[in-house]
């Protein structure tokens, strides 16, 4: 029976640790998704606030399904293009994408199909909650920027709750822009 000494065992363990550390690199988030959905959700939220205050005509709300649809189309097309890359992705990476699509998909459904239960600002708040979950999930895996961005979105939610109703939407929108889209932009910059 073969055996190894302590120095060889140390050498083997160091190699294992190095391989595992490399495969556990920070989650590849696809910053472009965050930028697109951050801007899209902030646009919708701020538009609702503008219409609510009479600063934009109600007909402008027709742009909402178009913007959300464009975000969805972008995600599908981009997802198809990066499918081959994802085949090499780690299990935790796949888990992350599952969390991303599930939370944003649910927020999308809430906005489109449950608008009577979550009218106006409540729908925007649902987006903020979904975005905060995604960001904090990435943050849990060691991405410091995601932790900060997730906290920013949560803070925007709390501040919006106590702010006058005529500016709550702007605060939520700002949280989405700075937190969600901002995180995506920072990921893209870090990747380059």
């Amino acid at each position: 029976m073969e055996s190894i000494g302590a120095s060889e065992a140390r050498d083997h363990l160091e190699m294992v640790n190095r391989i595992l550390a490399e495969s556990h690199q920070r989650l590849c988030t696809g910053g472009e998704y965050f930028v697109v959905w951050g801007i899209g959700s902030a646009f919708v939220t701020i538009l609702f606030q503008l219409v609510d205050r009479g600063l934009a005509p109600p007909t402008a709300l027709w742009s909402v399904p178009l913007v959300l649809g464009a975000c969805a189309v972008f995600s599908i097309v981009r997802g198809r293009l990066t499918r081959r890359v994802l085949q090499r992705s780690s299990l935790v990476q796949r888990e992350f994408f599952n969390v991303l699509w599930l939370t944003l998909g649910l927020a999308f459904v809430v906005n489109v199909a449950a608008f009577r239960i979550f009218p106006g600002i409540a729908a925007a708040a649902i987006w903020s909650v979904a975005e905060a979950i995604v960001l904090l999930y990435i943050g849990m895996h060691g991405n410091r920027r995601a932790q900060v961005a997730g906290l920013l979105v949560v803070v925007s939610l709390i501040v919006a709750n106590f702010a006058p109703p005529n500016i709550a939407g702007y605060i939520l929108g700002a949280g989405m822009l700075v937190g969600y889209a901002g995180f995506g932009a920072s990921e893209l910059l870090a990747r380059d």
Binding site: M1, E2, S3, I4, G5, A6, A9, R10, D11, H12, L13, M15, V16, I19, L20, E22, S23, H24, Q87, R88, S89, S90, L91, V92, R94
Partner: protein
């Protein structure tokens, strides 16, 4: 200790596969920096032991072989690493 995993290359293969679903032969050879022939021989032993499973397919008319760790391989790896750690502990 698991004799099969006393080889550094085979241990490296199992560690590489640990966090991924499927990894291609080319990617394994590149990341472990071993020749195709050497890697092929080690993978055959891991396949025979049931530690990894193999899938052969064609992508754009090119053959693609990829590997995945089995539960048996995962358990063997965990036990082996524990034993390496205890060996180190007793030696120090």
């Amino acid at each position: 200790m698991d004799e099969l995993l006393l080889s550094k290359v085979r241990l490296g293969v199992v560690a590489e596969l640990l966090n991924f679903d499927w990894v291609t032969f080319t990617e394994l050879a590149r990341s472990l920096e071993v020749s195709n022939g050497n890697l092929g021989a080690h993978l055959t032993k891991l396949l025979d032991a049931g530690y990894v499973e193999e899938e052969k397919s064609f992508v754009n008319r090119r053959p693609l072989t990829r590997y995945r760790l089995t539960q048996e391989g995962r358990d063997a790896f965990a036990n082996h690493v524990l034993q390496l750690q205890s060996l180190l502990k007793t030696a120090t």
